[in-house]
């Protein structure tokens, strides 16, 4: 956390957690099955919850507690539950169609992570300790990986998950870099996630009823 001095064990936990968060996003890049994606997303959100909780306990900031438990509630429980129910209801067992194959996706993810590290290093290195640079560059790389997932996977569910990973990255960045951010911002962002996911799921249900599939490969009529 920028601007706070923490005991050593917090730094170790923080390093470990952000490494696991990065790992979970690579797990998503290396998979073909939609339910796998959703579980990885829930796991990642749970790790972010633990990180926020630890930072909240250590800085004794009541706002961080609230945000942490709301994260647990919304990102770890509600959103994965809705998505999994959706999958069960429509009985989706199809594999995700990949435009970029798995090895290449992982290499691209690596490159994006390195790029995020350089960007963050140039931006905040003059005034922040190394641990913050590590954590925030991983947050930025989550944003990049989210965008990469949106452009390289062709189902509505993976599009939604890509957006959710981007939100996770933004949330992680805001917790690590600007812990004093007004709590109203975090609250409205969580509200926004719920509403956006609901709206996109309704849209994809319409799509399923019209085209018979969640795949977005046939969305190529409107050009020019």
């Amino acid at each position: 956390m920028l601007g706070f001095v923490m005991p050593l064990y917090v730094y170790i936990i923080e390093d470990l957690l952000v490494a696991l968060i990065l790992l979970s996003s690579f797990v998503m890049l290396s998979s073909r099955w939609i339910s796998f994606y959703i579980h990885a997303y829930g796991f990642q959100s749970f790790l972010i919850f633990i990180l926020t909780l630890v930072l909240g306990i250590e800085s004794q900031d009541i706002n961080l507690y609230i945000v942490a438990f709301l994260t647990l509630f919304v990102r770890t429980v509600i959103v994965p539950y809705i998505l999994l129910r959706m999958i069960k209801k429509f009985n989706i067992k199809e594999e995700v169609k990949l435009i970029i194959k798995i090895p290449l996706s992982i290499i691209s993810g690596l490159l994006l992570t390195v790029f995020a590290y350089f960007l963050i290093y140039r931006l905040i290195s003059p005034f922040s300790p190394k641990i913050v640079i590590n954590a925030s560059s991983i947050a930025l790389s989550l944003i990049f990986i989210g965008f990469f997932m949106i452009i390289s996977r062709f189902t509505t569910i993976t599009h939604i998950l890509g957006l959710l990973i981007i939100e996770n990255g933004i949330f992680l960045l805001s917790v690590v870099v600007v812990p004093t951010l007004p709590i109203i911002v975090e609250l409205v962002v969580l509200f926004d996630i719920l509403v956006t996911v609901a709206a996109m799921l309704i849209l994809s249900m319409f799509m399923k009823l019209q085209t018979g599939s969640f795949s977005t490969t046939m969305l190529n009529r409107l050009v020019g």
């Binding site: 870099v177 109203i184 911002v185 956006t196 849209l203």
Partner: protein
């Protein structure tokens, strides 16, 4: 004052809920028209209060309405009023000849009023992050309007819209967090620990320069997605062409203004922090590219509403260039361009909606001889296209002229040359397309009734065009004061 603003916002909410619950078609139509009329009056009243008193602060500074916000609220209210008037005609025809069901009809009125509500809230909000979330809510409300008639094409358009714009807004959110970081660097003398426009603007001198540069680029990309500035415009032609015409008008003529409003707020903060040179350059580059893409789209266009969408992209480019050039003339021109574009574009979309109902197609090549079939609509449509490309009695002529004047005054001659060439290209290409639709002779084997649709189909086209022509001759002192006040706020 508090009560007044709350009532102003509750009117569209009530209209949407009641028209959805009551399930009475005539009632829903006229309730929406009535509520939009009340909102138009309310917007004028807000403007009057702002012009005579100072900025309104409500709820502990959570809502701040200054001249710029009041101007955007007025523009939104105008389009809301016109669209709900035109919606009466459009939706009746859609129920008659297309396969729109009753459920779709009431869903349309539910989300139509909610969409207007979210657009009214956006310029009032003082907190940047809450503003962005409100923009996200406008996306959700309008994506359900895009699928008013559920077809494969409209679902595709809505999906592209919600996906691209949500991703854009999340980038803008990242930019906002970096804005906050730039004022809260540990060890700095003065922490700017608030996300309010007003507070940030006053303390812009304490923000960190490097982070501010990066953050502003993210904001232009993020909110530029919503404002359909190229190259983030790809959702716009799809959504505008698949949505019902009143919704296309709302999307094009007022939603883009609301997004540009956000960019200009950030622009003001960035400029006050690190000087206006850097943000101006970014806006000019984005704007010029946007004009170029818009005109390329117009030249190779076959669909009526897609044509108007690309014209919107071009106009957003002109507005961005105007703000980017800065100065009194540039900013004045850009603000006036917002008004002129709002008036002319909404009328054009209504005309395109009438064509769609008459000819049952959006293909420009199949629409011929409108003057023969629907004289009033054709007259107003040609007047609208003339006004849209800035032929003198229209207000867009004044605004485009003053933007070009500013580029000459600052010595950016290459911008002058590019703008003139692009505007001439838009002139030729748009007029040739609309001319081929309006004139000519309809096919002999094309049999449909001659004559216009009932007055609700052309009165909403007439009103904004009349206003546009009158403003072209004479800009009232009140409007002039308002725009000069906004220039002081921005710079």
């Amino acid at each position: 004052m508090k009560i007044f603003i709350i009532v102003f916002l509750i009117i569209p909410l009530f209209a949407s809920l009641i028209s959805f619950i009551a399930k009475n078609k005539r009632f829903a139509e006229y309730l929406t028209l009535f509520s939009s009329f009340l909102n138009l009056l309310g917007a004028f009243l807000i403007l009057y209060l702002i012009l005579n008193f100072k900025t309104i602060f409500l709820f502990n500074g959570a809502i701040a309405i200054d001249k710029f916000s009041a101007y955007i609220i007025l523009l939104t209210a105008i389009v809301y009023f016109l669209s709900s008037m035109y919606g009466i005609s459009y939706m009746r025809l859609a129920l008659e000849d297309e396969k729109m069901t009753d459920g779709e009809f009431f869903r349309y009125y539910l989300f139509f009023n909610l969409f207007a509500l979210t657009m009214f809230i956006a310029p009032m909000i003082n907190n940047m992050a809450v503003y962005l979330i409100d923009i996200e809510l406008t996306t959700i409300a309008s994506s359900f309007l895009v699928i008013s008639e559920v077809t494969e094409k409209s679902i595709e358009a809505a999906w592209k819209y919600i996906l691209i714009v949500s991703a854009g807004i999340s980038l803008a959110l990242l930019g906002t967090i970096l804005f906050y970081l730039s004022g809260n660097i540990p060890g700095s003398a003065h922490a700017v620990s608030s996300l309010d426009w007003t507070y940030m603007r006053l303390n812009a001198g304490y923000l960190n320069e490097n982070i501010l540069r990066f953050a502003f680029v993210l904001i232009v990309i993020g909110l530029g997605t919503k404002a359909a500035i190229a190259p983030m415009h790809t959702w716009a032609p799809d959504a505008y062409s698949e949505a019902p015409s009143p919704v296309s008008a709302m999307l094009s003529a007022s939603l883009e203004n609301v997004a540009i409003y956000g960019i200009i707020r950030y622009f003001g903060i960035t400029g006050a922090g690190i000087g206006f040179g850097y943000p101006e350059t970014i806006l000019i580059i984005a704007g010029i590219f946007s004009i170029f893409i818009g005109i390329m789209g117009i030249i190779y266009q076959r669909g009526t509403k897609r044509l108007l969408a690309y014209s919107s992209i071009e106009h957003m480019g002109i507005i961005t260039v105007g703000f980017g050039l800065g100065g009194v003339f540039g900013t004045f021109g850009a603000l006036l361009q917002m008004l002129g574009h709002t008036l002319a574009k909404s009328s054009m979309f209504f005309g395109a909606g009438n064509f769609l109902h008459k000819f049952k197609t959006k293909d420009i090549r199949k629409i011929k001889g409108v003057f023969y079939l629907m004289p009033v609509t054709a007259f107003l449509f040609s007047l609208g296209s003339a006004s849209l490309i800035g032929i003198p009695p229209s207000v867009l002529f004044i605004s485009e002229f003053s933007i070009i004047l500013q580029s000459l005054k600052d010595g950016y001659y290459w911008i002058t040359v590019l703008l003139t060439v692009f505007l001439a290209a838009a002139f030729i290409s748009l007029l040739s397309k609309t001319g081929s639709m309006v004139f000519g002779k309809p096919d002999d084997n094309f049999n449909c009734e001659k004559g216009d649709f009932p007055p609700f189909s052309y009165v909403p086209m007439l009103l904004p065009l009349a206003a546009s022509v009158i403003l072209g001759f004479y800009i009232p002192a009140g409007l002039h004061d308002l725009l000069s006040g906004i220039i002081d706020i921005i710079r």
